[in-house]
Symmetry: C2
Subunit: 688 residues, 2 copies
């Protein structure tokens, strides 16, 4: 195995393909940060334990898998957390309805509880068989007990075989060679950090990106937008980002990327008014270009040979195409103050009522075929749109519907139309294994209760987003879509709105804590949202937990789904305290909680000094957070905050601080700063 | 294009793969019957309209698709009837949860309303893009109207493009060459017949196979089986076939293929008792062989390199493996009177809670890989099990969970665990496009109403099957599984049972009519169950109908699903009459029916003389059907019945008759026979 960086090893077999996430990457390996990670200097398994061969079908890999190992990752898996014993196909697909591996962001990377990671560098629809089958004859050497006769599929299909002698088999179609990367631990979490640093590190959103997001009705006109924008401020509903859906364009599906002056006359004036109210504006789009788009003709020769929805599919791996697309976005949007985009439909779709996208056999000018382009399109799109923001020296936090391997440094958050609350929670649990961020967005809901429960999850997630593109009025006024459109509101909706406001304010309070977690993601590759198993790979009780997760270093979130007034929460080792009441719970066991509708079960590690900001309506460019320190346990006397301007790339040249906040024995507070950033983002006001 | 048979053309490109349905076929093209079909002698499109090329990925085909064409087929598609505008992957998969092409019986064959069929001879997971995409630039030449802004996915995703310039793109991975077969019409139904005759013709079940089937509780013991068998006869519930589920074997999952003498002591005596009561016995199995199976050692060297459920996967394309497997079945089962098998799990599974089967990269002694073996396994298994019955000179009707291309001559009926009544009806509609038979089996139900509605569909389907493997007592006593197991029965279940009995008797009455429809399938390739579009390709109102179908030449079936007391029925051209009341309906329009719980909407073409048998409890070896003729309209004076011994392969050497039954002007009945079969299967008793 060839050493690529500290704790990163490569196995090369045959002649790898020209187009892979590594050959297409535009980010740098964070060598320096990798050097700071603990490392044995020995690969986690030897090359003799790996089988690699070329067949008619492509390349086949077989990797060791010990009896006690459990496997996680493979990108944004929405249907399962622990993939041991399962088959996973790494194929981009919108709204996957079953546990097949298909995902908005499939990644050919897995990590093991034994403390290592494996990345297969391919854009092919590779299949991973994670200990699904023994080799012929292995079963005869076991002892057999006759099972009771099964009378359900569950009983019949349960595995009887011992789990030794297993392997991970990887099937990579079409390829004639492959690069395999192995990431050392020593533990699962470190292997994930290593993969993220290899990918370029995590992204650092602007501070405002951590506030509340609201996407508005697709058919809204200028006056509807302004009415909503005014109402939020009047009703003191914190909102940072205002999102426009397809209706802002003259043509959508496919896209013209031109403002519709009928619905939005003098749209620049409107944008000025929104900016004046401290809203950031985000524009929906997809990249299938309508013939009437101003950049259609220029991009035609740089596009694939099939259309999607009457639109061109530009090959964004071609510098000319990239430049045309990016320059247009800079000039027309970024330079005019647009803060971000929602990059839709860049996944494919085999599962929805109307499947779409280009065929796998499509041909692109770069030489990529449709299969490869499908698995890379989301990443190419992110890199393209990131460009104008880099040039403008402004950070964005944006949305994207597809992503893939080595994408952790792009400040884009994934989303989906699946809209099942449990599935959405599982997305938060899983995204951190593969360098991804996920938004369990809220639309309307089946009831006010459902709305509140969903908002609670959103508020404790990578992006706190209400996507109200199907309803003209806020969902707290009416959850039923038809009634919402007719303007019939729920009786006593102000009570629901007040609960929502409290939750929005809770999000705003957590921004300093969250921003610090994101900084650790950017600089150390440590995911801000993590499955419980990630920090507890020795605790098998955590292996299957898909409904609770860590936010940052100290906060455990266990959302409740509508229809239940209580839930059970398992605590990993250590002592935990209720965020709301301070009550103490010992780790290694489960407790049942029924905190009422207004509260989501949230717990804090004993010994945590939690910095909470005074909620603002928005994070202005010159925002200062007034931080109160909340002590969880007597030992809670110190916390760290990340500080920079929250807006630019100055942090890359050292313009940031780590602020060490401590409570002295006399109760006074110290805030010691390390770093070169001069302004203050935090004002520590006291202890709660 | 090379002419292969009358109206069948082949295009060869490159070097086709060694293993395809055609190279593995064991049936003969029915050249003589093909010669009897109408035919222009010109392929439906020219070779210039077809593009074929080899790429890195495999072989790519592009075929013409006119604006007005609609496409059907692709095997047992359970989620859609009209595949125009859709992507379909030809990949065997158990219980497919979405409209992806995956199927228990995927077939790379489609037929067009323009009157032709296309078969791509491959075992690869080929993808068919049926007019999904235009080529780059085709949209710029259209006129655009700005759509209203969509506020739902349905609106946004709807196609705006004109549907001209379309093609069918076929992506065949791994292959270096391909054989493409084109089937002339002149119409859709004839193209289907041609495909079936090319495949070897349809199957001819034994007459008893058309009676009622009952599969019993998986955990049943000998005394439970006999109690049920006696009850059916005592209560005069017609049942022909008694099915044993996994519990008959000493080992299952995987399979030993050995009777369990604990649950079934002296099983041969038990079988003798069942035979004495005129039951046919069917045994469940799958082919993944447990190490304790008597044929394990012999088959080990003829098996794939991975196990499934601790079991060998024998390569049944190898003559030695085939012979060992088939001879064991002949000696142990067929020679001991077993009438058929249920061949389970020979599909794969990506969609169920516990995915299973061998990897696509598995290697088999024949040189087939796992992908090819997956798509052929069901057909190989059918051919293997058909062997002992051929040798014994006895026909079987059996069950199988997977099938594929060119399989129409195998007397095996497909089934699934999906258990959605609407989906199951769609299976009946679709199976006839691709040479397949499908059983919308009944298990328990959510209510007595649901049970009755499901049985109504089953009774008017290729196989009338109650699969009660999860409940020890008949479902008409208790539909709730847990209560059924506890022996708690529904109040007044005898009323439900009586309705069920009436339905079972209705099935028994239709056997002569159905048997004749199957004979047309065997000899002319005409499917016994057909979508309405098959006989009406010019009537666009039939294109999407997925909830009504033709049974035989004259009967239109429109099942009702629980929760509805009425439904709308569209009648194709012609005059139709209600089976129950004789009421007249004109074709070309829809009517609404609410026939009450005991009746399923069934209609008969005006002018039909319908032969209905006096219901028997079972079809004995020496059965004679007492047929009454029911007239639908004054012109109904003639019908045709197929006649043979109902049991052996004598019909292949001409031992069968076509019986032409006519009502003379004086009301007397003539029954003129053409053919060499001497015994009489029908006794015509009069006119109703």
């Amino acid at each position: 195995m060839e050493r690529i960086a500290n704790g990163v090893w490569r196995v090369r077999f045959g002649q790898p393909e020209q187009h892979t996430p590594v050959t297409l990457r535009e980010t740098e390996i964070r060598t320096e940060q990798l050097n700071e990670l603990k490392c044995t200097g020995t690969p986690p398994f030897s090359i003799d334990e790996v089988s690699l061969k070329e067949t008619n079908r492509g390349v086949q890999i077989e990797l060791p898998l010990a009896a006690e190992e459990h496997i996680y990752g493979f990108g944004l898996q929405l249907h399962r957390v622990d993939h041991t014993g399962r088959k996973k196909v790494i194929r981009v697909n919108s709204d996957p309805v079953a546990d097949t591996g298909d995902s908005h962001a499939p990644v050919p990377f897995y990590v093991s509880t034994s403390g290592y990671g494996v990345y297969v560098d391919t854009l092919r629809y590779a299949t991973f068989y994670c200990g699904t089958n023994l080799r012929k004859g292995d079963s005869e050497y076991k002892k057999y007990e006759q099972k009771t006769v099964g009378t359900s599929e569950m009983e019949l299909y349960s595995r009887q075989a011992s789990e030794s002698n297993r392997t991970v088999v990887v099937d990579i179609p079409t390829a004639k060679g492959i690069d395999l990367y192995v990431f050392e631990g020593p533990d699962l979490a470190t292997a994930v950090q290593r993969y993220n640093l290899f990918s370029g590190g995590g992204c650092l959103p602007p501070a405002w990106g951590l506030g509340m997001w609201y996407r508005t009705y697709s058919a809204a006109k200028r006056e509807d937008v302004m009415r909503l924008a005014n109402t939020f401020r009047e009703e003191r509903m914190p909102v940072d980002v205002f999102g426009f859906e397809p209706g802002w364009q003259t043509k959508a599906y496919s896209c013209s990327l031109v403002w519709d002056e009928e619905r939005f006359p003098e749209h620049e004036t409107m944008l000025g008014e929104l900016y004046g109210m401290n809203y950031r504006v985000n524009l929906w789009e997809h990249l299938f270009l309508h013939p009437m788009s101003p950049i259609y003709s220029e991009l035609k020769s740089h596009s694939g040979n099939y259309e999607v929805w009457e639109g061109l599919v530009p090959d964004l791996s071609i510098p000319e195409a990239r430049s045309i697309f990016a320059e247009y976005h800079k000039k027309e949007f970024v330079d005019k103050g647009i803060a971000g985009f929602k990059l839709d439909e860049c996944d494919s779709s085999d599962y929805v009522h109307s499947n779409w996208s280009f065929p796998d056999v499509a041909e692109f000018p770069s030489g990529m075929d449709g299969e490869q382009m499908h698995n890379q399109l989301g990443t190419l799109y992110q890199a393209t749109i990131q460009g104008p923001f880099e040039k403008a020296g402004k950070r964005t936090l944006s949305q994207v519907r597809a992503s893939g391997a080595l994408a952790s440094s792009f400040p884009f958050v994934l989303y989906s139309d699946l809209y099942n609350h449990k599935v959405f929670i599982r997305g938060v649990v899983n995204c951190g294994f593969s360098g991804l961020l996920w938004s369990p967005e809220v639309r309307q809901a089946e009831s006010a209760e459902d709305l509140i429960r969903r908002i609670q999850t959103a508020v404790f997630s990578p992006m706190a987003l209400l996507n109200c593109w199907r309803i003209p009025n806020p969902p707290w006024m009416q959850v039923d879509r038809d009634k919402n459109i007719r303007g019939e509101f729920m009786a006593g909706y102000d009570k629901t709105r007040d609960i929502c406001r409290n939750l929005f304010e809770l999000r705003m309070a957590f921004i300093p804590y969250l921003y610090t977690a994101y900084a650790k993601y950017a600089m150390e590759g440590r995911p801000p949202f993590r499955a419980l198993v990630m920090d507890n790979p020795d605790d098998s009780y955590t292996y299957d937990i898909d409904d609770a997760y860590m936010m940052g270093e100290s906060v455990l979130v266990a959302p409740i789904v509508t229809g239940s007034s209580e839930r059970s929460v398992y605590f990993p080792k250590g002592t935990w305290r209720c965020f709301w009441t301070g009550a103490v719970y010992e780790g290694g066991q489960s407790y049942t909680f029924s905190p009422g509708l207004e509260r989501i079960p949230v717990f804090v590690k004993d010994g945590t000094l939690l910095p909470l900001a005074k909620p603002q309506q928005y994070v202005a460019d010159d925002a200062i957070f007034e931080v109160t320190l909340q002590q969880f346990g007597d030992e809670a006397r110190e916390c760290i905050l990340y500080e920079d301007d929250g807006l630019t790339f100055g942090y890359r040249s050292g313009q940031y601080n780590w602020v060490k906040v401590s409570i002295n024995s006399d109760g006074t507070i110290d805030a010691g700063r390390t770093g070169a950033y001069e302004r203050r983002l935090y004002h520590i006001v006291g202890i709660k």
